[in-house]
Structure formats: structure tokens, C-alpha cells
């Protein structure tokens, strides 16, 4: 009887219905209803997200989804951002591009994060996909501006080129002139990470001038301040602008043309860049400040009073990135000016100094949390914290979804009571019921993990460093956090017991990273042996782990679920523990 109902809709109708379902989770759910829905769904899935490029092989993806137009891939573990993953670890996108070149000639969008992209890859993209539109390379590396030139020259329908935070070999700005004079489709360009001090200004100006749909333009440091007016003059429709260098000798004519250019940008909502700021030039942006929703001042090395002067002009601000020069007093002022604030990131100006160089403490964060009811996302570097401050934050900001606190000195206790910060972070997870991401720091015992396991039911990503006392801590997290997808741990006394006892949990997660912990080589082998759907990879630059006793702890461990089996592109310092429990060296 059910069969009759399912067959009464022709495939095309179901396909049309499915086209309204965009989210991956929903699409996955749809595909599991019955075999015919699985079949229909896989033929009309246009967009896929693969959170770990080693969890599945390109061929498997292509086999199941033959008509994909948009793909997003992530490679290296998050701790690669902080140099914990040695060079050469992996995350190569070339095999994917090579397979897709043949299988997806109509591919339009490629988004990559933490992957190794070479000029060869970029040339292959330029050559293979005739309707290519979007290239986002987020924190990638391995390519140069020559590869970008190939993209510019060939991709006539390119709309978006976003290189955010990538490590690019910048051979000078001439790649921009490879966009043909007839090319006008650019909507978004983010080249802010390019490091050369040469840039082809005339090519840039001409490009900006003829691309009338340009909405996002983030320049790199090489573009001087006195060129901004000219560029903005050609693109008054910009919504998101990143300056290059924002400093020069003060000249009134330069200032007034700059201010004039900014005031003609009526759609501008987001500003960033601002390298080498000369404070006298900041008032040039005042005309747009009242409409700004996002402001990135994280390269602005000016003192708090100047920062406050600027922020008072920005009542609509929803997102602010700033250095700790803002100090507690500046954050207090921010909390009274910017009631709509949703995201705050405060970065340290002197992260390796032993003494504080600015007056930024837990008070700054507390004052923002007390006054900004819409606050959802926090990244805060500071040098001291207290349980009472964390409890206040938790009680006043129950809508927090991302909370990342970095107390710069590891294992710093509550400065008021000298106790661990277990209770404070416990309050965060208890009150912030929608918390999805949490980073811990300070002095923490196993108790904080007990709270996390008990309360953090929506937590998807947890970062832990220099915390905990025993395996019980890890056990609380693995057994209690139902939604956990990514767990990254460094320098904690977690060993074999919790890991082995919760082996099955690891198959429900994307990945687990543990470095400088106490997991033995023997436990890794056992895990690899018992869990065929997990790739258990040991990273050790000091030599093969089997040259030491099984009880010896491994340096770094990366465990992830995979349907593709062990990977074959491992460098000499990565060993995979597989079913044979014998060493496999690639």
C-alpha cells in the first residue's frame, strides 16, 4: 500500500520537490526514506559538503552524485592553524580536481579549507570547467599568483575569487591583468592575504571599473591609501570593502577625496584591512560608520581613545574584530554604543610578552556581555579570569553559540580565589543551551569535563589545552556530549582508558586530535585493529613508533571516520594503524 503512494508521483515531481531542500542534513534524510527516493535524490543533488577530504574518495562521491555543481572540501585538522601539523601532512586537492575534471564538466563552485592547492590544480580548474563561477580558498597553501593568473585568464563566468587567509606565493600583482578586458562578471574579490608589495594598480582599477556587479572587494596591504578614493569612485555600489595600507603622511586633499569617496558608497556595510593605520585618516570613514554592521580592526595598532572615538560612530555594529589595545575601558564604551553586537573577537597585541602590555582583563568581556543581549559569538584573549566573571557572562548571555576563551598563560587559576575555573565554564555550558563551539583555557580539573558532558548537549566542537587530571575527563566528554563532531586536545593527561572505552563514539564524530597527551602506541594499534571504519593515524617526527615499546605515548594522534579506508598519500612521519595492526608506511 505504501508502495502505491510512493509510485504515484513521477520522478520529475519528486525532483522538483527536492529542489527546495537545500540543507545537507535534510537532503541526507530524504535519501534514506526509501530506495527510489535515494535514487532520485542522488541524481539531483547539486551541492555537496565534505568535512574531511579523507572520509570518502572522489570516485565514491562521483559514483553516487553524478550531477554535482558545487563542492566544499576541508583538509587539515584545525590545529594546523597553529603549526601543530607538520608540513607535508596531506590535504592535497589535486586528486579531487583531476577526477572531477572528467566527471563534472559543469562544475561551478569549489570551496576549500585548509587544503594544499598547487598552480597545477588551478590551471586544471581553469581548463576543465567551462562555467566555473566560485573559487574560495580558505586557509589554503601551495599555490602562487601564476595559478591565479590562469583562473583569471580562462574563467569568463567567474563571480567570486576569495583567497581568505591563504598562504600564497605572491610573485607580484600582474596576475590581475590576466582578466580579459571583456570580463565583467566579478562580484567578489578577496586578495587581502597577498603579501608582495607590488600590485598592478592600473589593472585593478580597470577591473573594478568594468565589473559593475562588484559587491565585495578586499585589497591587500600593497595598495596604498591614496589609491582608495579612485577605486571606491569606480565601485560606489560596494557592500564589503577591505582597504590596503591605511597610513600615509597626512595631506588634506588626500583626506577629503577619501572622505568623499567613502560617503558616496551608500551600500557599504562591512570594512576591514586597515594595515599601518594613521589615526588622522580614520575620520574619513565616519560617513559610512552609521550603516556599518561589520568592522575588522584587528590590524589597527592605535590606542583605546582613538578606537572608542571611531566605535561611537557605529551604532549598527553587529560584528567587531579588534586588538586588545581597546582595553576594558574601550569595551565598556563599545557596550554602550553598539547594542546590536552579535560577535566580538579580541586579539592579543603582544601574545608572547610575559607581562600585560595593556589594561585588558575579564572586565572588558563582562561589560560587553552585560550590555549586549544579542551577543552570540566570542573569541577573547586575556591574561586573567575568574569564576564569578564567567558565571556572570553565562547568566547574561544565554544565547551564546560560540565561546572561545584564551587565557594566555596555560593553567592560570581564578585570580580572585586561586581555584580552578571549572565552575565558571560549567556555568557557561549549563546556561548557554545552544552552545555549539567551546574553547577552554586556564586551570581546569576533571570537574569541568563532568559539567561539559552533563550540560553541553548541542556542543559540536570542543578545543582543550593544558587541562584535566585523568582519563575521567576525556570519558565525561566522549560519553556525554551527544552532538560532538570535532574534538581537539593538546597537552592533557588523557590516556588509553577513556579512548578505548569510547571507541564506538569516535565513529559518530568527524575527527579527534590528541597531541602531547598520554595515549600509548599499543592503544592506537588496538583501536586501529578493532575499528575498521576509523583511520587511526599516528604522527611522529622523531621516528617509527614501533621502534619504541607499545606503552610509549605517541606524539600526535589523529583519528577520523572514513569509508575510504587508509589513505595512501601519507608522508614518512605519519603511520596508519589498520586492521592488520601492522605498520603501514606509504
Amino acid at each position: 500500500m505504501q508502495k502505491k503512494v510512493a509510485c504515484s508521483f513521477p520522478d520529475e515531481v519528486l525532483e522538483h520537490v527536492f529542489s527546495f531542500i537545500q540543507s545537507d542534513k535534510d537532503r541526507n534524510a530524504v535519501s534514506m526514506v526509501c530506495k527510489s527516493w535515494y535514487e532520485i535524490e542522488r541524481w539531483c543533488r547539486r551541492k555537496i559538503f565534505i568535512g574531511n577530504c579523507y572520509a570518502v574518495s572522489p570516485r565514491m562521491v562521483i559514483r553516487r552524485f553524478p550531477k554535482v555543481r558545487s563542492i566544499e572540501l576541508k583538509g587539515k585538522p584545525h590545529f594546523a592553524d597553529f603549526n601543530l601539523v607538520p608540513d607535508g601532512w596531506g590535504g592535497y586537492v589535486l586528486p579531487w580536481i583531476a577526477e572531477m575534471a572528467g566527471a563534472y564538466p559543469w562544475l561551478e563552485e569549489i570551496r576549500l579549507k585548509r587544503m594544499v592547492v598547487t598552480d597545477e590544480c588551478l590551471e586544471l580548474i581553469a581548463k576543465s570547467f567551462k562555467n566555473f563561477k566560485v573559487l574560495v580558498l580558505f586557509s589554503c597553501e601551495g599555490f602562487s599568483t601564476d595559478g591565479l593568473a590562469a583562473i583569471a585568464a580562462s574563467c569568463m563566468n567567474l563571480r567570486e575569487l576569495d583567497l581568505r587567509d591563504s598562504d600564497v606565493d605572491d610573485l607580484g600583482g600582474h596576475w590581475l591583468s590576466h582578466f580579459p578586458e571583456t570580463y565583467t562578471s566579478l562580484v567578489s574579490l578577496n586578495s587581502s592575504c597577498l603579501g608582495s608589495d607590488e600590485v598592478s594598480l592600473s589593472a585593478l582599477e580597470r577591473l573594478v571599473g568594468r565589473c559593475t556587479n562588484l559587491r565585495t572587494l578586499r585589497l591587500n596591504r600593497a595598495v596604498p591609501l591614496d589609491k582608495i578614493a579612485n577605486i571606491l569612485g569606480r565601485a560606489p555600489q560596494l557592500v564589503d570593502f577591505g582597504t590596503g595600507t591605511y597610513g600615509a603622511d597626512l595631506q588634506s586633499d588626500v583626506f577629503s577625496s577619501l572622505a568623499g569617496a567613502f560617503s558616496s558608497c551608500k551600500e557599504l556595510r562591512s570594512l576591514s584591512g586597515f594595515w599601518d593605520v594613521v589615526p588622522a585618516y580614520l575620520p574619513a570613514i565616519y560617513p559610512v560608520c552609521s550603516r556599518l554592521t561589520s568592522l575588522n580592526l584587528s590590524y589597527v595598532t592605535i590606542q583605546s581613545p582613538d578606537l572608542v572615538k571611531l566605535l561611537r560612530h557605529c551604532p549598527s555594529l553587529q560584528r567587531l574584530l579588534v586588538l586588545d589595545y581597546i582595553e576594558d575601558s574601550g569595551l565598556e564604551a563599545l557596550s554602550s554604543s553598539c547594542k546590536d553586537l552579535q560577535e566580538l573577537r579580541v586579539f592579543p597585541s603582544d601574545p608572547f610578552g610575559e607581562e600585560p602590555n595593556v589594561s585588558l582583563t575579564e572586565q572588558g568581556l563582562v561589560s560587553v556581555c552585560l550590555a549586549c543581549p544579542k551577543l552570540q559569538s566570542v573569541l577573547y584573549f586575556c591574561r586573567r579570569m575568574s569564576n564569578v566573571a564567567l558565571v556572570t557572562i553565562a547568566q547574561n548571555c544565554p544565547n551564546l553559540t560560540r565561546f572561545r576563551l584564551c587565557i594566555i598563560e596555560p593553567r592560570t587559576a581564578d585570580f580572585l580565589t586561586l581555584e580552578p575555573l571549572d565552575v565558571g565554564f560549567g556555568a557557561i555550558v549549563e546556561h548557554c543551551k545552544d552552545l555549539r563551539r567551546l574553547s577552554l583555557s586556564g586551570l581546569l580539573t576533571d570537574r569541568v569535563f563532568e559539567y561539559i558532558g552533563r550540560y553541553a548537549k548541542k556542543l559540536e566542537m570542543l578545543s582543550v589545552a593544558f587541562a584535566g587530571e585523568s582519563d575521567l575527563g576525556l570519558h565525561h566528554v566522549l560519553s556525554g556530549c551527544e552532538s560532538l563532531r570535532k574534538l581537539e586536545i593538546r597537552d592533557c593527561p588523557f590516556g588509553d582508558k577513556a579512548l578505548l572505552a569510547n571507541a564506538a563514539k569516535l565513529e559518530t564524530m568527524r575527527s579527534l586530535w590528541m597531541s602531547s597527551c598520554a595515549v600509548s602506541f599499543g592503544a592506537c594499534k588496538l583501536l586501529g585493529q578493532k575499528m575498521p571504519r576509523l583511520n587511526v593515524e599516528v604522527i611522529d617526527e622523531s621516528g617509527p613508533p614501533d621502534s619504541r615499546p607499545d606503552s610509549c605515548p605517541v606524539d600526535k594522534l589523529y583519528i577520523y571516520r572514513s569509508v575510504a579506508g587508509p589513505r595512501f598519500d601519507m608522508p614518512p612521519f605519519v603511520w596508519t594503524m589498520d586492521e592488520d595492526s601492522a605498520l603501514q608506511v606509504s
Binding site: 608572547f352 594566555i408 596555560p410 589545552a465 597537552d491 598520554a518 622523531s542
Partner: protein, 190 residues
């Protein structure tokens, strides 16, 4: 315990440390040990603990507090941009590339090191082993097949020496020593 301090027993104490080091600095070293070496495990056997100790020695070699890898968790491009700012303030150099037609590689010089054109030209002559001709506003450089030129902020190729020194240092982006017929065309202004 107090009276021991009065006798300054430390000075005459037989220890394995170097003269001048004290227990405090050794304690600090072992604190570093605790932070950066997580290998101490009660059930480890002899071999591995020896290996761990070896690693410990390497890690406690620096006398100051050892910087932990990847901590605080800040992306490299942020660290770099903060550092660049500091060094710029300290050195205030004005380095420009210098190319010579026919030379296999370029050099870099700091324009701030020179007070004027004569010094700059002498330095270039020494660096590339050539001689410029005599400069005149009307005719440029006469008497040599080498002509010093520079690229200014607008990307134009200019003859060195035409504008006041300050204006030159503010607008010069790179230097180029031209040679041969191409140079003569520029040097000889009709």
C-alpha cells in the same frame, strides 16, 4: 634554616650546575619541563624514560621560559603582521630593489643611508662596478653607456637626478641601471 642564609653556604656549595646559576633558575627549568613534556608516565619502562629524559634536556636548553609550540593559538599571518609593525618602527629603512641590465640578480639598497644623489650614485657605481656619466638637466647623463633610472609611484620610468632628493626618496619604488642603446635614448634629451 634561616641561619644558613647568613653563612652564604650557596657560594661554597658543591653542585653540578655552572657557576652563576642558582636553584631558582633550575626550578624554572623544571617548570618548563612540566609544561612542555607530557611523557612522564608511571608505568613506562627504563628505555622510554631515558628517551624522554633526552627530550627533556633538549627542551630545557633555552634559559628563558620556553615558548610552547602553537600557543597562544594565533594564526601565523597575525603574528607576522604584529612583528612587521615592530621592526618597521625600529629600523625605518627604505629598501628598494636595484637592477642592472645584464646582471644575473638584483640588489637592494636603503635609500635612507644616503644624504643625496652623489652618495647614492657612488654607492651604485661601487656595487655594480660601472661609472655614470656627467649629469646635466638639459642632457641627462653624458659620457657613459650606463644611465641610472628609477620607477616612481605611478609606474613611470624616470631619470635619476631630476627632482629634489627628498621628493626622489619618497617616490622611488625601484632603481634600474640601464645600459647600451636603450639608455642612450633616454639619457640624451634633445
Amino acid at each position: 634554616m634561616a641561619f644558613e642564609k647568613d653563612f652564604n653556604l650557596d657560594a661554597t656549595e658543591l653542585r653540578l650546575g655552572l657557576p652563576g646559576t642558582s636553584e631558582e633558575s633550575e626550578k624554572q627549568a623544571s617548570t618548563t619541563l612540566r609544561i612542555s613534556n607530557k611523557r612522564a608516565m608511571p608505568d613506562m619502562n627504563e628505555d622510554s624514560s631515558v628517551a624522554a629524559d633526552k627530550k627533556c634536556d633538549q627542551e630545557t636548553a633555552p634559559p628563558t621560559k620556553a615558548q610552547v609550540v602553537g600557543w597562544p593559538p594565533i594564526r601565523s599571518y597575525r603574528k607576522n603582521s604584529l612583528q612587521t609593525k615592530k621592526t618597521e618602527a625600529e629600523t625605518c629603512g627604505m629598501y628598494v630593489k636595484v637592477s642592472m641590465d645584464g646582471a644575473p640578480y638584483l640588489r637592494k639598497i636603503d635609500l635612507k643611508m644616503y644624504k643625496g644623489y652623489p652618495e647614492l650614485l657612488k654607492a651604485l657605481e661601487d656595487m655594480f662596478k660601472f661609472k655614470v656619466g656627467k649629469y646635466s638637466e638639459r642632457e641627462g647623463y653624458n659620457g657613459s653607456e650606463f644611465v641610472p633610472t628609477y620607477e616612481d609611484k605611478d609606474g613611470d620610468l624616470m631619470l635619476v637626478g631630476d627632482v629634489p632628493w627628498e621628493m626622489f626618496t619618497n617616490s622611488c619604488k625601484r632603481l634600474r641601471i640601464m645600459k647600451g642603446s636603450e639608455a642612450r635614448g633616454l639619457g640624451c634629451v634633445v
